[in-house]
Symmetry: C2
Subunit: 494 residues, 2 copies
């Protein structure tokens, strides 16, 4: 029985009858035009049409699909809503793309134990919608939260503007049902605190689909704060804004978010949404404070005074929902807005320790000046998570390469200053070959031993997360010629 020409014709084709038996007729997509819909995630310059797409509706179906892949040595790639920014859900041309979009039931809102039990395809914001009537919300808030899936958040350990105070996804996952790469359904953790044994929840969260597929997630619910206030403070230089960040944190205030934008990002946002930020600002800080009203009121005064002392020439304070939305409008539109001042741009994602923030921002300015390539900075200043936008004209030959070079150099700066190659977008395909910049061969070997312990066949999301000769070439830097961090005594790494 041969498939029509436009249907799956490679390795997974042989699996199609069995996949249909598992997921039903409508749970398996073989038509090329349907498969093509899934050819990329949010990082669109990596594309691959999946061999076959399956849409399971239960943990048992997921386990059966994964077990089949394991037995036949066929790669599988898990995918949630496909909003990821590191090509972590890039399909495999000869593999199965396992999409969780039909597993979107909220199974339980358990207010007394302050948790929710959900299927992986549930949209991040839907948990908050379900919990809100009880006075609770789900804290991790990636900017894609309206559409991104909890399963994808688990895979990428997603953060968001408010992870400064509330932490990443890993800090909010209490229990997981997981289908391992060999197709076993295991349960890690649960509603009670601190389960014994290895904390594989921690290792699974952020494993980018390489350790299997989450089929049920127990997440913490967080009490909706009594009061939230958003401050907007304008500065004449990025250094002055950075100084305000340091003094706020140094004084022991823990805002729920501290966001920073530079002149170019402000200009773009102004052009796009007329957000009416203070004229002449070379930097704006958005500082959000939440908690009991008594605490927030005291902290607002403190932050206002600290911003003034750091040289702010204007600070606005917004407490109503509408007023606050206005303050956030510029920040939230910034990425899209940059599209109005540049034909194309690369969104970089790196982290530096807070103390290195000013120095690294200065070096980025120098890099930009030296290369003639504009860089707009919009970032989570409180936890040192930079999101430089590297602007270029994609109609100009070689422009992408030059932008990519600047973008890569920014990551090098982060690593040199003891930071990291990604804050919240993950490694995926996009940065796998950059892992040796952060980790030595022993470190990577330790990761790889762990991966292979659960996935000896290498069928779970291959060529993601860790560098391989296939992915990165046999060039120096992959596994071999890199100095182990520890042996080389790069104390600044720490």
């Amino acid at each position: 029985m041969s498939l029509a020409e436009n249907e799956t014709a490679t390795a997974p084709a042989a699996l199609v009858p069995e996949l249909r038996a598992i997921c039903g007729e409508d749970g398996v997509l073989t038509d090329h035009s349907q498969r093509r819909t899934y050819e990329n995630d949010g990082l669109a310059h990596h594309r691959e049409v999946p061999g076959v797409v399956v849409l399971p509706t239960s943990a048992e179906q997921v386990a059966a699909v994964v077990r089949l892949c394991h037995e036949r040595g066929v790669p599988f790639v898990p995918r949630g809503a496909g909003t990821g920014l590191s090509a972590g859900a890039l399909p495999h041309a000869e593999g199965v793309l396992l999409v969780t979009s039909r597993m979107r039931r909220i199974l339980e809102i358990d207010v007394a134990n302050e948790c929710a039990v959900v299927e992986p395809g549930v949209a991040n914001l839907d948990i908050t919608r379900a919990a809100a009537p009880h006075g609770y919300y789900y804290a991790p808030d990636p900017s894609s939260q309206q559409v991104c899936s909890v399963g994808g958040n688990v895979a990428e350990n997603s953060g968001g503007a408010h992870c400064l105070k509330y932490g990443f996804t890993v800090n909010h996952v209490r229990g997981l049902d997981v289908v391992t790469p060999s197709g076993e359904l295991v349960r890690l953790g649960g509603k009670a605190a601190d389960a014994p044994g290895y904390d594989l929840i921690g290792a699974f969260v952020g494993s980018e689909g390489t350790l299997g597929v989450a089929t049920r997630v127990v997440v913490n619910l967080t009490r909706t704060p009594e009061k939230t206030v958003t401050l907007l403070s304008a500065f004449e230089s990025m250094d002055a804004g950075g100084g305000a960040v340091s003094s706020i944190i140094g004084e022991g205030v823990l805002p729920s978010a501290i966001e920073m934008m530079d002149a170019l990002a402000i200009e773009a946002a102004e052009a796009a949404v007329a957000c009416d930020y203070p004229a002449g600002a070379a930097a704006v800080l958005i500082v959000e404070l939440d908690g009991p009203a008594a605490e927030v009121d005291a902290q607002v005064e403190q932050v206002e005074a600290l911003c003034a002392a750091a040289g702010s020439f204007e600070t606005r304070t917004a407490s109503g929902a509408e007023e606050r939305a206005l303050v956030w409008k510029g920040r939230k539109s910034a990425f899209a807005a940059v599209g109005r001042i540049s034909p194309a741009y690369i969104v970089q994602d790196g982290v530096v320790p807070r103390t290195a923030l000013s120095e690294v921002l200065r070096r980025i300015t120098e890099l930009s000046a030296d290369s003639g390539i504009r860089v707009a900075n919009v970032f989570h200043a409180g936890d040192g998570n930079l999101h430089p936008l590297v602007l270029f004209d994609d109609t100009e030959p070689g422009a992408w390469d030059r932008a990519e070079e600047v973008s890569a150099k920014i990551l090098d700066l982060c690593v040199e200053h003891g930071g990291s190659i990604t804050g919240e977008h993950g490694v995926g395909v996009d940065k796998a070959c950059k892992m040796p910049r952060m980790y030595g061969p022993d470190d990577l070997e330790t990761f790889d031993l762990f991966r292979r312990s659960l996935d000896p066949e290498g069928t779970a999301n291959p060529d993601k997360l860790l560098p391989t000769p296939r992915l990165c070439g046999e060039q120096p830097g992959v596994r071999r010629d890199v100095h182990p961090l520890v042996a080389s005594g790069q104390a600044t790494q720490f």
Copy 2:
């Protein structure tokens, strides 16, 4: 060259010259009387004299010792201060006991990045002592914090009274240097947030020495709160006290600690330290609130009102350091105090979801009545972490066995109600054979695959944490006859 009769004469004896070359003459103990000092940790009914004891002074020495053990197939057991309560540091008669007590330098207090870098032998409280002049402290506070080591805290994922608000050790470790069981020195995480790759920090914290030895630890420093208030509230029944806990949490107040004691525990504390708790109390709650003064003041009023509404007949509020110490005096002395009303006792450690607290406490009372064995309850009520003290007379034949049976049944109750066999004391040798009560074969196999990926030879703290036929016998319940949680659909487990 033969060793003196009282010196190491088993497997590790052959390693002694090499161990001396690594750690120096004074870094290797072979004399029986010296080795015997280390025969048990805080759980004294498990004893074993180690084959040889080494006291390395650097990460390089640790790595060389572990590599040697790996090459020769000799087991090693890491040990910090030896205060653990699950026999996790029980020595191996034919192995090397690797004691970190000489690695006790505080390498850095980095206020701007709110972290400290320390060696594993540093005492928990010494970090707070070093950070206090800067207005910071180290949050995890096991009751042994004056002497227990940070390395031991990492191995056991230690908690304490204040982990309700501040989390366990795993929530405060940002980076680790680790010697893996094959003797490689690797670096996980660092000062910046959210390092890419598998979060092996999370898995390593709480791995009880089975994945290697931490040689350097980067921990979060927490800002010393502006104000701390401690409330003592007395109730006529445990149920009423439990109701107060539920309503405090349900109202969204997050105290730094909520401790509860029952009548027997109060009686013991009163007899021992005359703590002057309200007469006639069948339950007392200690509720500690900390944070900005404005917040704490508002919350104190709220908690007072909630306790009154739940039926408290007396609530005392203490804010000065001395007054607060008086409130804590009874609680802190309770374990030792029980020694005055009973010749011997077993300290159990289990967890239940908050909602199951009242039910499980009632069942413990029934168990106690049915068996005629007294049980005193002193526990972290806020996070459902029970510490029942099972009292018995160790001079009476069979009394230990009957007490142990009640103690084991309490754990079964915890698991039945969706809880866990340990909250903060760990699994060690003591509870390894109880792991199949919580986990099915697939779950345990997944843990074991991970363990073996880093320790294929099984030399790192063998017979701890996971059940083995050697440890638990070939009886049903070990790996074989246990139903997988997921397959058996025990939804209450979650």
